[in-house]
């Protein structure tokens, strides 16, 4: 027995109830003692401190077993903390994770539903095979839990499990449980089960027959809709929009039952509702002033008072819907007027909508918009101004009447006087207007008179498209320009530096005017265009001209070439092709609606990497890399000692490239390579030309989402002339 005083000391130490404090330093040894302290409060503090260190990025993984010891507690907060820690390090310490399995399983039967949820949720999130092996019992139990909150968590876990280990998920047959959950009594469970099924379907379309499930559960969805949370509502509405009603009665019923959600405060709910309605509209009878159209219209109006990011999404979606239902928002034009504090991206979209929305039979509205656009064009943001100028010509052409067009023309000419930087845009817009009124010599004279004063158009005009238009105008109205030859000569001198459109336009203008120009000009442009350009189209075109011109008895052919008139432009607003439009209408509110590109992979069953249990891939790569490096390095030792480092480096470099290649491959697997193939298969001259035009437009920053009207003219010029040749 130790002496009495020592024993008293020890006893007192043990009896003091104050738990030792953990300092803020976060030293591992201190934390470790704290974690296994006999005082609960100290242990909890130590866990908190440990997690604090963890979030700061310090490696506290060596404390894993000690932290884990604290997982068995009735203190929910402490349990949560430990779970958090386990989740974070599970992937790096899969072997230690096994110690947590029993606790997960026990917790999944805890009397406290919160703990049951936490257990199953954490367990299905840990990307470690060893853990997933034991998930069956707790998952099944929680899927059939008495508590709806637990069930709704468990159904999501099935989707997670599917993502982590599809084979296991199929083996356990829990996907069937998900399907059964669609008939659950609780709307949240239904919503989550739906979400989980959709997710699984997106990973592997063979796993569930989603469309027939939707088909058979429409009434459940409609019932659940009113009682669930926003998030669930969005999912259910999204699912409903995949459903095609059997008849007009059902379509009307669906519309009636979702319409109330158009007034929801959450814009995502509103958009999802709009999607369902738009989906069902074609099936019911409605007129442009029917109640449903008014409701839709006011829903959009309400979306325009959301934060700018939402407005942007709304505007993009409006753009799509307008194409199908152009009359939808005509009365609400003013809502889309640009506000001074709108961000640029919203302003640009608004202009686009404005021109589309305006009713061309309503002179008052058009005139108001004209003044509005003119204001915009006098602002200072270059992209905005440029878009406004484009919109002016779009508006003019949309209204169609020459007197109105002439008003627009005056505005554009007035703007032209104000500033040098907008010459490109004005030039393009003016030429578009002229192409809309081909017979109107007065307008042509007005425009040419202004252009005629430019002594150095090749400097004033910056973009390829603008130059192309200018040169085209020279060819169309040669008599309105003084000193035509020198104007053309400037461009001939610069021919090699010019881009494809200008080159093409120049070639055509000179051929057109060759009878009146000095002979050498034709000769030099044909030579330049056949020998000095990299543009295949320009070259081919020049070859063909050359041949035509040197054919015997070619008068009528040459005449056709030179006299040919372009068709009138009657619309400069880009339209979707009918198929694309239908697809986009189905994908409202998704990312496709922002890019106006239907998701080509949708419902085609793209497969994600099936098993993303972490570690494997990187490890494999790493060991491959190591092997390769070491083998190469060894080889080299035999040959030459000095270069060893170098070679290892190069090897490493090579490996890097191969990984990059792998990455690229991955990208191609996922990314729709459709764009590329389209261009390849349609590699005709016109398309090529259009493509170039697009590029030019983009670099100029004009064609944000929209397009540049000269696309049409350029393309037409090319194809028209080609046709004329044969």
């Amino acid at each position: 027995m130790p002496p009495l005083d020592k024993r008293i000391k020890k006893f007192l130490k043990d009896s003091i109830r104050i738990a030792p404090k953990i300092s803020g330093k976060g030293e591992l040894s201190e934390l470790r003692t704290g974690l296994v302290s006999q005082y609960p409060q100290t242990r909890k503090d130590a866990i908190k401190k440990t997690i604090q260190q963890m979030t700061l990025g310090k490696d506290v993984s060596s404390l894993f077993p000690d932290v884990l010891k604290n997982i068995a507690t009735i203190d929910v907060e402490q349990k949560k903390l430990v779970y958090l820690y386990v989740m974070n390090y599970a992937e790096t310490h899969p072997e230690l994770c096994i110690l947590a399995v029993n606790t997960f399983i026990t917790d999944a039967q805890d009397p406290n539903p919160l703990i049951r949820c936490m257990a199953i949720r954490t367990m299905s999130m840990i990307r470690v095979d060893k853990i997933l092996e034991y998930i069956e019992t707790p998952l099944r139990r929680t899927l059939h839990d008495d508590n709806a909150y637990v069930r709704k968590t468990a159904v999501i876990c099935v989707a997670k499990l599917f993502q982590l280990n599809k084979d296991l998920c199929v083996e356990l047959g829990v996907v069937e449980d998900l399907v059964n959950a669609l008939d659950d009594s609780n709307p949240l469970v239904i919503a989550n089960a739906t979400a989980a099924l959709i997710e699984i379907h997106n990973m592997d379309m063979d796993a569930v027959d989603l469309s027939s499930l939707i088909q058979s559960h429409v009434s459940q969805f409609l019932l659940a809709l009113n009682e669930c949370t926003e998030w669930a509502r969005i999912i259910i509405l999204g699912t409903l929009s995949e459903y095609s009603a059997k008849d007009s009665l059902e379509a009307q019923d669906i519309i009636d039952r979702v319409t109330a959600h158009l007034q929801h405060v959450n814009p995502a709910v509103v958009l999802a509702t709009i999607k369902v309605i738009v989906r069902n509209l074609p099936q019911i009878e409605y007129s442009s002033n029917s109640l449903i159209m008014k409701r839709l219209s006011s829903a959009f109006v309400s979306l325009m008072s959301t934060p700018p990011e939402m407005q942007y999404v709304a505007l993009k979606n409006i753009r799509i819907i307008l194409e199908k239902y152009p009359e939808l928002l005509t009365k609400e034009l003013r809502i889309f007027y640009v506000k001074f504090n709108d961000p640029l991206y919203v302003k640009l979209e608004k202009i686009d909508i404005l021109v589309r929305l305006v009713d061309p039979s309503n002179l008052k509205q058009c005139t108001l918009l004209l003044t509005e656009l003119k204001e915009y064009a006098m602002e200072y943001e270059p992209e905005f101004v440029s878009r406004a100028i484009q919109a002016l010509s779009q508006l003019g052409i949309k209204y169609a009447q020459e007197s109105f067009v002439s008003k627009v023309l005056d505005i554009l000419l007035e703007l032209l006087e104000r500033q040098d930087t907008i010459k490109d845009d004005c030039c393009i817009s003016l030429c578009d207007l002229l192409r809309h009124c081909p017979g109107n010599d007065k307008m042509a004279k007005q425009v040419c008179a202004v252009f005629n004063t430019w002594s150095n158009p090749e400097v004033l005009l910056q973009s390829d498209i603008a130059k192309c238009n200018y040169v085209w105008l020279l060819g169309q109205h040669p008599n309105n320009f003084s000193d035509l030859e020198s104007k053309i000569n400037i461009f001939i001198e610069n021919f090699v530096q010019e881009e494809a459109l200008t080159q093409m336009s120049l070639l055509m203008t000179i051929v057109r005017l060759h009878a009146t120009l000095t002979g050498s000009m034709l000769q030099s442009v044909l030579e330049l265009a056949t020998q000095q350009t990299h543009e295949l189209d320009v070259r081919d075109m020049a070859m063909m001209y050359w041949r035509c011109l040197s054919m015997p008895n070619n008068e009528s052919l040459v005449n056709d070439l030179c006299q040919n008139k372009l068709p009138m432009i009657s619309n400069t607003l880009e339209k979707f092709s009918p198929e694309v439009l239908e697809k986009l209408l189905m994908e409202l509110g998704t990312i496709s609606s922002i890019y106006f590109k239907p998701d080509s992979n949708r419902r085609k069953g793209k497969k994600y990497v099936q098993n993303i249990v972490k570690g494997k891939h990187i490890e494999e790569l790493e060991s491959m890399a190591k092997n390769e490096i070491s083998s190469k390095a060894n080889d080299d030792v035999l040959l030459d000692f000095d270069e060893r480092d170098d070679v290892t480096n190069t090897n490493a470099g090579m490996l890097n490239t191969s990984t990059t290649l792998g990455d690229l491959d991955d990208l191609f697997d996922f990314g729709p390579s459709e764009d590329a193939t389209q261009i390849n298969t349609n590699d005709t001259k016109a398309v090529q030309g259009l493509k170039e035009l697009k590029l030019g437009g983009d670099s100029n920053g004009i064609s944000s989402g929209g397009k540049n009207n000269p696309d049409v003219s350029g393309g037409n010029i090319v194809s028209q002339d080609l046709l004329d040749l044969f």
Binding site: M1, L4, R7, I8, F11, D14, S15, R17, V36, Q38, P65, D66, K69, A72, L96, I98, L99, A100, V101, N102, T103, I105, T106, Y134, T137
Partner: protein, 183 residues
């Protein structure tokens, strides 16, 4: 004198200290069954423990923090994570599992060599005595080479977790030893 003192204080404040006790042994020996027998006095249906169970129980005015660790081969290496601050080890042996007596013995001695367990008392349950053909406590003791143990309070008790026999006797002995040594 000291005994009187400490028991007096004990009565005044009660012992605030929790005693850590580990239940170890090969898989299927009956560790989990014993833990819950102690805690709720019933036989529960068990599954192999992947990881651990921990329960706090009050026994004779003492708070016991009892850890039952899984006994599968893959989990045994992690027993050591739990050795620190351990007052006593309860080692459970399936007395009918003659083939694995040597394995049990090896694991037991390996564990007792650990520095952190030098002061821990050892209670061995020769479990599953209700089964026909079960080795007796002294036979198990021989198989496990318990006589070789030096400088340690140890005892072996024949038990049946299913019938509830021997468990409290064993624990009574253990608590007495701990009280004597620690207080």
């Amino acid at each position: 004198m000291g005994n009187i003192f400490s028991s007096m204080f004990d009565k005044l404040w009660g012992s605030n200290k929790e005693l850590r006790i580990l239940i170890l042994g090969l898989d299927g020996a009956g560790k989990t069954t014993i833990l819950y027998r102690l805690q709720i006095g019933e036989v529960v249906t068990t599954k192999p423990t992947i990881g651990f169970n921990v329960e706090t129980l009050s026994y004779k005015n003492l708070k016991l923090n009892v850890w039952d660790l899984g006994g599968q081969t893959s989990i045994r290496p992690y027993w050591r994570c739990y050795y620190a601050d351990t007052a006593a080890v309860i080692f459970v042996v399936d007395s009918t599992d003659k083939d694995r007596m040597s394995t049990a013995s090896k694991e037991l001695h390996l564990m007792l060599q650990e520095e952190e367990l030098q002061d821990a008392a050892l209670l061995v349950f020769a479990n599953k005595q209700d089964q026909p053909g079960a080795l007796s406590a002294s036979e198990v003791s021989k198989e496990l080479n318990l006589v070789e143990l030096k400088d340690r309070s140890w005892s072996i008790v024949a038990s049946s977790a299913i019938k509830g026999e021997g468990i409290t006797e064993g624990l009574d002995w253990l608590i007495d030893v701990i009280k004597e040594e620690q207080l």
